[in-house]
Symmetry: C2
Subunit: 112 residues, 2 copies
């Protein structure tokens, strides 16, 4: 990284729970795979290791994506939005991103 993590974290606005929403997009196809949350620790570990970590709100624990499923995400890009309250990451997704086995969590398409 060209910027130190200590310089990146202050650019991010965390919510009252200390979390920021993170959109994961396939780095090759641009498909949006999932949306999850990170806290400061998850961001630090993700940036340091290149292995994507989230904060699991249901388990209230750091969540190394793929740790149990093998469906890891390798970090390929990290972008903060204009007001700092959302992060977009590009990832190299091993296998499906969704726990249902679908490639993307966004498969319930409403016909317009």
């Amino acid at each position: 990284m060209h910027q130190k993590i200590e310089a990146i974290l202050p650019q991010i606005t965390f919510n009252e729970q200390g979390l920021v929403p993170v959109i994961a997009q396939d780095f090759a196809t641009s498909e949006v795979l999932m949306m999850a949350w990170m806290n400061r620790e998850a961001i630090e570990i993700t940036l340091k290791t290149g292995k994507v970590h989230y904060w699991s709100r249901s388990r209230q624990a750091l969540w190394h994506k793929g740790e149990t499923s093998g469906h890891f995400q390798q970090l390929k890009g990290f972008t903060i939005d204009c007001d700092g309250d959302t992060v977009l990451i590009k990832v190299d997704q091993t296998g499906p991103a969704c726990h249902t086995g679908e490639r993307s969590c966004f498969f319930n398409k409403i016909p317009l």
Copy 2:
């Protein structure tokens, strides 16, 4: 729409503030343009009219995207994620999506 709005809304899990995060993606290029929030009313109006409406958390008001800037979003797709707590929309974006004049709100790219 093939499904009635009354059948779509129960598929969505709103947070304690009655809101759901919505990712807007360019329908042609797949670029992620912004992330904002909708309440039930914003979803209903968006689905009924095809003109994307959000809920402005700062103004605490319904927000017809483009109403003041002219940078409207025409709805092209509406997908709910696996656990119903995030929405992904595809849009035809007139002009820039971001209030800064950038095409996408995600322009603060951290070099890895």
